[in-house]
Amino acid sequence: MAKREPQQLGIEKWQVQLRKGAAELAVLGAVSHGPSYGLAILESISRAGPIDISEGAIYPLLKRLESDGKLASRWVEDEGASHPRKYYALTQKGRQALKAMRSEWLAFHEAMMILLDGSQTGGADVG
């Protein structure tokens, strides 16, 4: 059976909202592995799976996280790069926020799986 595109299934808007909701957690998670800059953060999130934070969204989000005190930044002149890069790292507040958000996410995931396991084994269809 051919895979249907989200637009055909009518879930495109839902996907967008889902990814928007997860964006902050995804960025904090990506930075938790070590200081990183905008493009590298985008690439590591993209490699992880279908989370897809757009290039347009990443920098305002990083700026907001920095203003909120969850990230700290510094400019680095990387070897081989023609321009300085702004590296972001988690602050203590960011680590605490990540820990709390991770717990919430796992609890949310567990609850959804309980609900979805029932639908997979064939609940009653109406209409």
Partner: protein
């Protein structure tokens, strides 16, 4: 238009739109976006990068909000409001403590005295002997003063913490 010119044009248009952010914040954003576009150009992705960022006018709006100058101004006015409450609470606390001390030192002479003839009133120690002037609170004066002292102390503590939080942003 060459890739260099495309990047330069985008950055200059974005610079105009970011004026509300404040000079330092705007320059950091521009440097970061310019670096991003230059790296994407190296990977032949400049066109898709520019498409993803969108028109500078709209992209600049995504940086607005509680960051930068807007955030600083809002924090300052919140801080001033909290300081005003803190100072008022401190003054009322001081007055309450003085009244409690006076009442303990000279019971019966400290209270809220009101004249039945005119609208004169006194808060504190009344040493006169005018029979028309009476302490309207009587025995309740001390508990009320104690309550006021506790309430204002709690307000001072709460607002003090809030001021520190606001200062930290």
């Amino acid at each position: 238009m060459s890739d260099e010119d495309l990047i330069k044009d985008y950055i200059e248009r974005l610079r105009v739109e970011l004026v509300r952010l404040g000079v330092k914040d705007a320059e950091e954003v521009l440097l970061e976006i310019r670096g991003h576009l230059m790296e994407r150009r190296a990977g032949d992705g400049l066109t898709s990068a520019l498409d993803a960022l969108g028109p500078p006018e709209a992209y600049a709006a995504s940086f607005a909000g509680r960051s930068g100058r807007q955030g600083s101004r809002r924090r300052l006015s919140v801080l001033f409001a909290r300081l005003a409450v803190l100072c008022t609470s401190a003054l009322l606390f001081l007055i309450s403590v003085i009244l409690i001390a006076l009442d303990l030192a000279d019971p019966g002479r400290v209270g809220f005295w009101v004249s039945s003839i005119d609208t004169t009133f006194y808060l504190g120690r009344y040493s006169g002997d005018d029979p028309s002037v009476n302490d309207v609170l009587g025995g309740f004066f001390l508990p009320i003063a104690l309550g006021a002292a506790l309430l204002t102390a709690a307000l001072i503590f709460h607002q003090g913490k809030a001021c520190i939080r606001t200062q930290q942003g």
